[in-house]
């Protein structure tokens, strides 16, 4: 068993962590404005599909990424319109968004590419593996840290940027205020609606990139429902990290490791179903350690008595 833990496992962890990290950071933006976004899964799926469409029709990876971010941004605005404007239950909307993501992508897969299940094109280029000049030459660390898709580096940068946004910028400060006490935020004249839309759109962009990493970074194809629960795992990563960017980074690394291990174990004689189960089982196990158990616990508000 020990020989599964080697440097290439670390390297593949870093690769696997990206979609979860990006989506969890996006989810934290929504959480910070008081919206529990169960629709991350749908966002990722739409992003993954848009990236493939962009790549197929433009042949440009950059345009593909741009399209993934843009289309998912539009999709997230729909989520925002329902929850912020129509004040629909955010959980029901989130679930519906997941259906819609699945329905739209399968429908358009048929309509655009005329295929069922999966689309693959051998001429299609995946995201390049960046060899970072100096980093690459460091012994041992070099091969681990270098040679990933640009989105891997983007995701780690996003965690740092989001930290600066929350804790150093005025807008980030106000975003946190909205989630903490929306009535108070309104009473001092903050435009809570605009801040909520801002957070939701940023979430959309991050999830779009998460999807692009799935369909262009790890493989170069789109399969129906290829998000495979990563949106929900990201949600748990977000809760485990208490919506703090570095907390999320740590918990996402943990889940990325699970993903990497489960892929690695496929080489062993275990049935594939069991290795595939691993990330989900471990995610549930991780939930035992959640401090802020979110909506599951009404105890706190009960204690306050009002």
């Amino acid at each position: 068993m020990l020989d599964i833990f080697d440097s290439s496992l670390v390297s593949s962890t870093i690769r696997m962590v990206t979609p979860i990290l990006l989506a969890a950071l996006g989810g934290s933006l929504c959480a910070r404005v008081g919206i529990f976004n169960v629709g991350l899964e749908g966002f990722i799926l739409v992003g993954a599909f848009a990236a493939i469409v962009g790549n197929h029709f433009t042949g440009s990876l950059w345009l593909a990424l741009l399209l993934a971010a843009f289309v998912t941004l539009l999709f997230s605005l729909l989520f925002g319109y329902m929850t912020v404007h129509l004040r629909a239950n955010e959980i029901v909307v989130g679930v519906a968004i997941n259906f819609l993501g699945l329905g739209l992508t399968t429908f358009l897969l048929r309509a655009i590419f005329g295929v069922k299940g999966a689309f693959y094109d051998k001429d299609m280029q995946g995201l390049p593996q960046l060899q970072i000049p100096v980093l690459h030459d460091i012994p041992l660390l070099g091969p681990i840290l270098s040679g990933h898709s640009p989105l891997v580096y983007v995701s780690f940068a996003a965690a740092i940027l989001l930290y600066l946004f929350y804790y150093r910028s005025v807008t980030g400060f106000r975003v946190r205020a909205v989630g903490m006490n929306a009535t108070a935020a309104k009473s001092i004249g903050l435009n809570t609606v605009r801040l909520q839309y801002l957070a939701i759109s940023l979430c959309g962009i991050l999830c779009g990139l998460a999807g692009a990493q799935l369909s262009l970074g790890q493989v170069t194809m789109f399969t129906e429902g290829m998000a495979a629960g990563r949106g929900f795992i990201a949600l748990v990563a977000m809760m485990l990290g208490q919506s703090h960017p570095f907390g999320i980074l740590a918990s996402s690394l943990l889940f990325g490791l699970m993903d990497a291990i489960s892929i690695r174990l496929q080489g062993f004689s275990l049935p594939t179903q069991f290795t595939a189960m691993l990330p989900y089982i471990l995610t549930i196990a991780a939930m035992f350690f959640l401090k802020d158990r979110g909506m599951g616990s009404n105890r706190a508000s009960q204690q306050s008595g009002r």
């Binding site: 008081g34 169960v38 729909l78 329902m82 129509l86 004040r87 629909a88 239950n89 955010e90 959980i91 029901v92 909307v93 679930v95 519906a96 968004i97 259906f99 819609l100 699945l102 329905g103 739209l104 399968t106 429908f107 897969l109 048929r110 309509a111 903490m180 006490n181 929306a182 009535t183 108070a184 495979a228 629960g229 929900f232 795992i233 949600l235 748990v236 049935p271 179903q273 069991f274 595939a276 189960m277 989900y280 089982i281 995610t283 549930i284 939930m287 035992f288 959640l290 158990r293 979110g294 909506m295 599951g296 616990s297 009404n298 706190a300 508000s301 009960q302 306050s304 009002r306």
Partner: protein, 353 residues
């Protein structure tokens, strides 16, 4: 007068959502470049165009209805059980195994299989309930993750230990059930089976439970304001655990009747591919968890799907159109569905601050 107003109010939102859903469908039909009226005409024909099609629609609605009933119970109690899919496949496989391997007369085996399906689905669901009650692990998330585990586990069981080895192709499925344990068809030559009758009876039973019993009252109040219910002496845990067991049981039953009445064996993916569980969830939302409303919602959603098959047979429009319409419809139904909840959560959040 009051009652009429109530009825109007409760029907208004689903109708608006349905209209928006069909309008969105129209947009996608025109994107594909087909005729909107012709497509919807084909859809109607595919669902209700002949007695055979109509019966097929009802057959398809059977598992959807059963799942929706269970979820109606959970939603009413304010419990977000998202794990119907896993509960359904585990129930179905257990039932299939009992029907295959238990000795005894056909009727006994049939009954035992039905009960096993309910109990196994219920227990799997109850596990998530216990995790929430004991360890405060959010049901909403744990049930979602449990789906993946259950589906992968059943897939393993039918592709290895319980695989049907008789055929030439090694498909992931159990052996065929013997005829004596099949649920009878309602009409010769039609796909509709006795499971539909079970589902209708269950719907009426659930309606009576909500309407007249003290337990139904507690469920309703818990969904309406959990703190009020607690204050009044309702045991939140008890009601939550019961509704988890019941909703899981219904999901297990849904899978079971599909195995015993339609497929006669457990086939990997045969229950998950048509998305029965998710459609059932949509039906419960669409009907605002009203058991009688759920009957119509389930048939309507099943008709969208069988109708879409008709569309695919006769036009260029792919059958995934149905999923798009359904999702849009649910997106908008929720604009009201739990508006009250939303306000309450918001209220709770504010007063907490």
């Amino acid at each position: 007068m009051e009652a009429l107003k109530q009825l109007r109010n409760s029907l208004l939102q689903p109708l608006i959502a349905t209209a928006i859903g069909l309008a969105a469908g129209a947009v996608f039909i025109s994107i594909v470049g087909a005729s909107i009226t012709e497509t919807y005409q084909q859809m109607w024909n595919g669902a209700f165009g002949s007695f055979y099609f109509f019966m097929s629609t009802l057959a398809r609605s059977t598992p959807i209805l059963l799942i929706a009933l269970g979820l109606a119970m959970a939603f009413r109690a304010g419990v977000f059980n998202m794990g119907a899919e896993g509960q359904m496949v585990l129930g179905a496989l257990s039932a299939a195994l009992v029907a295959l391997y238990m000795p005894g007369a056909g009727v006994i085996k049939l009954l035992a299989a039905l009960i096993t399906g309910i109990v196994v689905g219920g227990l799997w669901s109850l596990l998530a309930g216990v995790l929430e009650a004991k360890f405060k692990i959010q049901l909403l998330i744990s049930t979602l993750l449990f789906n993946y585990i259950a589906v992968l586990f059943t897939s393993y069981l039918v592709s290895d230990p319980f695989q049907d080895k008789s055929g030439s192709a090694a498909l992931a499925q159990t052996a065929m059930l013997e005829k004596s344990v099949w649920l009878p068809k309602l009409f010769p030559g039609m796909t509709l089976h006795a499971g539909f009758v079970i589902a209708i009876v269950a719907a009426v039973g659930l309606f009576l439970l909500f309407r007249f019993t003290s337990f139904g009252y507690e469920v309703k109040m818990l969904g309406s304001n959990p703190f009020f219910a607690l204050y009044g002496g309702v045991s939140q845990k008890r009601v939550m655990l019961i509704s988890m067991f019941v909703s899981g049981g219904f999901a297990g039953l849904a899978g079971t009747v599909e195995v015993l009445g339609a497929q006669y064996r457990f086939v990997d993916g045969a229950l998950t591919m048509p998305g029965y569980a998710w459609t059932g969830l949509m039906a419960a939302l669409l009907a605002n968890s009203n058991p009688i409303g759920v009957i119509f919602a389930s048939i309507f959603l099943a008709a969208l799907q069988t109708g879409a098959m008709g569309v695919e047979r006769n036009t260029e429009v792919p059958l995934e159109l149905a999923s798009v319409i359904q999702a849009v419809l649910i997106l908008f139904i929720s604009a009201r569905f739990t508006y009250a909840w939303w306000k309450k959560r918001k209220q709770g959040r504010e007063s907490h601050a």
